[in-house]
Subunit: 223 residues, 2 copies
């Protein structure tokens, strides 16, 4: 979770060798889990390629996806001694792993990194506030609309009131577990949006937002 932490931003013209020294690369195959909820937290991760999903589980298997992460995102801030979440690759991912000990050496060498990490945590906290409102107070329609709009903001293209092409790299199950709904409800609402000409479903993963403005309105409960 947390976007665009090019870790080097805070090291600038830094000694990259040091950084490389403290980290190791790894690749994770689709659907493979690489952080176990509750396991001792020894590493930070930075997603360098592909996508990852973060989640927590209830004992009976109910799952809440707490976020999706992609290139540049940082994982592991929500962990003190043990991880507060599990993580799993979504279609294959590459990661950079920073053992905590090494991370500490890095923050000592580059103090601004510590500040950067806090900023990242703050950004993440602000996002979570919004997500709690979504989960606690929004209707299914509003949730799905919010999800679509959220996906737009991942496109760095500034968003006019023109149609926007989106792709949803995650299966419906993941969308449902992210929004606190069932896959049937997600599916039904996407179909409804289509019928209302708010979106066009070109394929399972490719969706066009035909009326982004209206979808934003719905997302905020102002339709």
């Amino acid at each position: 979770m947390g976007r665009r932490l090019s870790i080097c931003n805070s090291i600038d013209d830094c000694d990259l060798a040091i950084l490389a020294n403290e980290s190791s690369r790894m690749t994770v195959a689709d659907g493979r889990s690489f952080i176990e909820e509750g396991a001792p937290a020894n590493d930070f991760f930075v997603v360098t390629g592909g996508r990852v999903k973060l989640f927590t589980l209830l004992p009976d298997g109910r799952r809440q996806i707490t976020g999706f992460a992609e290139g540049g995102d940082f994982l592991g801030l929500a962990a003190s001694t043990s991880y507060a979440f599990g993580a799993e690759a979504l279609g294959g991912a590459t990661l950079c792993r920073f053992p905590h000990a090494g991370m500490q050496r890095l923050t000592e060498r580059f103090p601004s990194l510590e500040h950067r990490l806090r900023e990242e945590a703050s950004r993440e906290l602000a996002l979570m506030q919004a997500r709690m409102t979504l989960l606690g107070r929004k209707t299914a329609r509003e949730r799905v609309a919010t999800f679509l709009i959220e996906r737009c903001s991942h496109l760095d293209r500034p968003d006019p009131s023109h149609p926007i092409e989106l792709d949803l790299p995650m299966p419906r199950t993941d969308i449902a577990d992210y929004l606190g709904l069932t896959i049937e409800t997600v599916s039904r609402i996407l179909s409804a949006f289509k019928k209302e000409k708010l979106i066009n479903i070109r394929s399972i993963t490719h969706i066009t937002l035909l009326a982004p403005e209206r979808i934003s309105m719905i997302a905020e409960g102002m339709e």
Copy 2:
């Protein structure tokens, strides 16, 4: 949000005068709001006495309480340029305000403070993960049970399997908005717990957990 940040922990035998210089005290009357969601974020706050609730609103007035804070808790991590939440005193509170600029001077003078803040943000993030699971995936019964157990952990008394006396300083409305339920549902479930001899309701604010273990089980969906 975030507990037990005695800011001096990270300054230790520090120059308290400097700290005092950078902060100002304030008191907020019951129900009085002192952080406006979306307003430019210029200050951090530390709760020094009383209680505070944090929340976000939807345009039509739906409210999600994202946390309660009390003595020692830190507010304002979930803010970059503008606050991601509103805050309001719950029965009167006293606060210490740290303007960002002053805070920056403090972190420069006491670098470990920066680390401390990140830790605090991490702790908060981990809590939020759990809360997202609550809001997205738990039943009303599980939510209320979780809330009761959560309140226990605010008591620093270690919790045996004996009855535990709790007080709930917030009105039912706030509990409901915290759990993503209505006040009727909260009320009904507390009554049900009482009928099942899981709790005893001594007064509106005073509740005794008669079977904390069982309530924990319910909270985790394992009843």
